[in-house]
């Protein structure tokens, strides 16, 4: 199986569950935490890169879903609303992974979801509110 990048969202009552520990220990998966925003009182957000046996991966995902964790493939997280985007390029200077970049010489804004780590800086700063969080 090629490494899978996924976004996990879960409510505060799940945040006491040892989900990372279980993925590694019980399901024998290699877990790399790309981004984590975890607070016992709030909704948690984890961006994980998971590697390992495909069957184990499916079992691990089933375990998370059973707990009530919402799982999304990462590219569906941040989306460029092309109707709203005026291709100014404001996002390209702050995107930490160059997932948002200007194609030259056309100077059109391009978004490479593969590189996006869902830091959401672009969502906050886009002057046209064209960078959105997908569901």
């Amino acid at each position: 199986m090629s490494p899978q990048k996924i976004v996990l969202r879960y409510s505060a009552n799940i945040s006491n569950q040892p989900i990372i520990y279980s993925l590694i220990k019980t399901y024998d998966l290699e877990v790399n935490i790309v981004k984590a925003n975890v607070n016992p009182q709030k909704e948690g957000l984890l961006v994980l890169e998971i590697n390992g046996d495909g069957e184990h991966y499916d079992q691990g995902i089933a375990y998370l879903k059973k707990l009530g964790v919402i799982i999304q493939p990462m590219e569906s997280e941040v989306v460029q609303n092309k109707e709203k985007c005026i291709m100014c390029g404001a996002c390209t200077g702050i995107c930490p992974t160059k997932a948002l970049y200007l194609e030259r010489p056309s100077m059109e804004v391009r978004f490479d979801p593969e590189k996006c780590i869902v830091c959401k800086l672009c969502v906050r700063i886009c002057p046209m509110k064209a960078m959105e969080l997908g569901v």
């Binding site: 005026i86 291709m87 100014c88 390029g89 404001a90 996002c91 390209t92 200077g93 702050i94 200007l102 030259r104 056309s106 100077m107 059109e108 800086l121 906050r124 700063i125 002057p127 046209m128 509110k129």
Partner: protein, 397 residues
């Protein structure tokens, strides 16, 4: 050689005019030189699509029954200035709803303001109108609450006191913390740089001495036709030079623009939000430059490599009126995605859409080529870099 507006307009009407975007002219001049390009080309089109805060719209609501002298007006809870005649009001692009949290939780979001409301009006959306008045014998009504659309209004006149900055600063932040400005989010310790000009496509950079752009110049404005109404506020055009006196492009000129909002398009007039700063309006403007003589061609063909702007520290210097000690950088450098300041490589990002500027220049080119859009000779010339108009600072007495 010297061409006249009448000659060029005659060619436009007969479909023989040669029209090019400023980008295309650059290539032609490189290939054939200024003299031949001046003979060959009649009109060059420019474009820009960027936030322009000093924008707004005069609205006339028509009279209700009984009549009312509106003294306070709100549109979707955004106050409009009503200190003019009975049912006239001016809604500014940076005005915010009365219940906006502003920067109370810094940085504020400013997701909705006057610019967004203007975009919604242009898109034909229904807007809530509230008004209050003290009541007079001729205008007895003291309050009203209703909804309006653009079609319901007698007039909606976009009138922008300061648009189309000739050139604009490149912003950096040398402090130890991220700041939120009208030049976007600026990361600490020169973490990024922003700029806001279309460079070689930008109208006033291509006519630095305002030889063809003046009072009455007909333009592309917000997808419709508009006019240059006056020089803009803070119009202080100057020619930048290096220490040897070589020209580095002009800076400081501005234009006041006017046009009928009813014929504009929501594609070209967009509400805009700057985190921690405020709401504004991004506006599409395209201005034709007739190549009347070789001097005009020479400037219209200036490239990103020839046009410079000043790097300014918005963390320390800009708020405190301190002259910049940072270098000038060319638009070619800025557009490459990286500049070097004091030995540090800084990623750059534009706030002005170059690709849309190009689209605007191409639309205006098509309008002129179709024979429908004729050029207007300015009724009055504005101050140019030779006039050395200087800005005044406000003294706190």
């Amino acid at each position: 050689m010297q061409k006249t507006y009448a000659e060029i307009n005659a060619k436009i009407k007969s479909g023989e005019a040669v029209v090019m975007t400023a980008e295309e002219l650059i290539n032609l001049v490189e290939e054939k030189g200024i003299q031949e390009a001046t003979q060959e080309v009649d009109v060059v089109t420019t474009g820009t699509f960027a936030p322009m805060c000093s924008s707004g719209v005069f609205l006339n609501f028509g009279h209700s029954n009984p009549k009312m002298k509106m003294s306070k007006v709100w549109l979707n809870n955004i106050p409009a200035y009503a200190g003019i005649a009975a049912v006239d009001a001016y809604l500014g692009a940076t005005e915010l709803p009365e219940d906006d949290p502003l920067n109370s939780k810094h940085p504020g979001q400013f997701r909705y303001g006057g610019g967004h409301l203007i975009e919604e009006l242009v898109a034909g959306k229904e807007i809530e109108l509230k008004a209050t008045a003290y009541g007079t014998d001729c205008y007895p009504r003291t309050e009203l609450s209703t909804t309006i659309t653009l079609d319901d209004l007698n007039e909606a006149i976009l009138f922008n006191p300061r648009n189309c900055y000739q050139n604009y600063n490149c912003a950096i932040n040398t402090t130890d913390k991220t700041i939120y400005t009208y030049m976007g989010m600026l990361k600490e310790k020169m973490g990024n740089a922003t700029y806001s000009t279309a460079g070689q496509l930008s109208p006033l950079l291509k006519d630095p001495y305002l030889r063809t752009i003046g009072l009455g110049t007909k333009i592309f404005l917000g997808g419709g036709i508009g006019y240059v109404a006056w020089n803009g506020t803070q119009h202080f055009p100057s020619m930048q030079t290096d220490s040897q006196g070589n020209e580095l492009g002009a800076s400081g000129g501005t234009l006041a623009l006017i046009g009928d909002l009813k014929q504009m398009s929501p594609k070209w007039i967009k509400g805009t939000s700057y985190l921690g700063y405020g709401a504004t309006l991004s506006l599409a403007v395209g201005i034709p430059i007739p190549l009347l003589n070789e001097e005009i061609t020479k400037y219209a063909a200036k490239k990103d490599e020839d046009l410079y702007t000043q790097v300014i520290d918005y963390g320390k210097d800009y708020p405190n009126h301190i002259p910049s000690k940072y270098p000038m950088v060319s638009y070619a450098q800025l557009k490459s995605g990286e500049i070097t300041v004091e030995g540090k490589k800084i990623p750059t990002a534009p706030l002005s859409s170059y690709s849309k500027a190009k689209e605007i220049a191409n639309i205006l080119k098509d309008w002129i080529k179709s024979g429908e859009f004729l050029l207007t000779e300015p009724v009055k010339a504005f101050a140019n870099p030779d006039n050395h108009v200087k800005s005044k600072t406000l003294k706190i007495k």
